[in-house]
Symmetry: C2
């Protein structure tokens, strides 16, 4: 997308260390924004982003124009099932936009490996699912979420936060961590799991967040779980003022 | 698909003459058939098809199992606009199935050039459109429709025709040719074009066909035209007994 932060730079560094040639895209993709979302105000600073990418040793920064990527209403890639909940439900059409632009970028760049950050956990699943389903010939490398020292997940959208909101924001990760500890400490049944989630939700709500979801999900299917499984994660989306924060922890 | 006939073999011969290595798919693709369509009875004869492909000098015949191509309900590719009319309207979901399997085959095989027959004119447009929209790195080579000596377009589905129906079937191409001659002989306005099309429709209906459509369309958009343009075609779908025949001529 753009507005590179340490999360993006860490992806670039990992790619730089592991690959012969590194291509990075810089493109605020209109098809993954819904009406009334922050497409217009999303951080854009070509000069700054280009400098950051260069410092990391990126070989090629791909900065297409919107009209170049979308000369007209075009073919869309629909990934089913893993897109029905969470971000897919909150942002209709979002994952079609993500899958389509990622498919296009893969075809244009032809990477052997593509790097994505686990901060956008459901997005990662949508992309790995698309790659499997459409038999795309590349591997997807998923990298850990990079956090500020107080735990807030790095995100271009953190720039929207007021000073007060920025102070509150780390609570999202704190509640994820707390819930994770509680869920891992005991083999819990459905009611107890729901009680843990409800507690985190209301703690956030009481502090001024509007919680969209705070759930335990299966990593493979992204469907909600009622007990801790082999491969699962806690996922959260919560609004603070005008800014929607998302985060997750793997269990 | 399968049930190779001279149309398929001609595509293979052209590919053989133009390319170093030729891969042919043999796969009756379930996702492009609707409920109540002829998926179950579609011609399947692996031994015969494999012999035919070998005789032409094909290097590799790709014969995947359905469960291999579709282990579960998966990602679908939706091509808009050029899929709204004609076969797209008559067969809901058909072109999503076509686009998806072709996308998968392209990713698996990685061809430099892919050959398709113009018999399925709208399908050709759906595929070229998908390739453009998703920035796929290959060229599409569209090859002329191969016909029986009496003009009937070759099709695996011709095998469904009874002897009587087979005698009637060439009328489809005859009416296409007749309409084409009339449309090309004079610069016609909308009413006159419609009159020519109506005449062909009723001639076919009077002979026992049930005409689904008989239209003048724009090649780029596949939308109906009311006057002869630069790049256009006559397209027809008509049912004879249980068999649905489609055909077209370029103007």
């Amino acid at each position: 997308m753009g507005g590179y932060h340490e999360g993006h730079l860490q992806l670039m560094r990992t790619a730089r260390a592991e690959c012969d040639r590194v291509v990075v895209s810089l493109f605020v993709n209109p098809t993954q924004f819904g009406a009334g979302e922050d497409f217009a105000r999303y951080p854009r600073d070509l000069k700054r982003d280009a400098q950051l990418a260069e410092q990391v040793g990126v070989d090629l920064l791909f900065v297409p124009a919107v009209e170049e990527m979308y000369p007209r209403a075009g073919t869309m890639v629909h990934v089913p099932l893993v897109t029905t909940h969470w971000e897919g439900a909150a942002r209709p059409g979002h994952f079609e936009g993500v899958a389509t632009i990622v498919c296009k970028l893969f075809n244009i760049v032809g990477p052997d490996v593509a790097y994505f950050g686990l901060k956008d956990l459901q997005q990662c699943r949508v992309i790995t699912r698309m790659v499997e389903d459409l038999d795309m010939r590349l591997s997807i490398s998923l990298q850990p979420t990079v956090r500020e020292s107080d735990g807030l997940a790095m995100s271009s959208r953190n720039a929207y936060l007021t000073e007060e909101e920025r102070e509150l924001a780390p609570m999202v990760f704190q509640q994820l961590t707390l819930s994770k500890q509680m869920l891992k400490s005991a083999k819990m049944g459905g009611d107890q799991v729901e009680e843990v989630l409800r507690h985190s939700r209301s703690t956030l709500e009481d502090s001024g967040f509007r919680v969209d979801y705070f759930e335990l999900i299966d990593l493979e299917t992204t469907q909600p779980l009622r007990s801790v499984g082999m491969e699962c994660a806690l996922v959260v989306a919560a609004k603070l003022g005008k800014t929607r924060l998302i985060d997750n922890v793997l269990l």
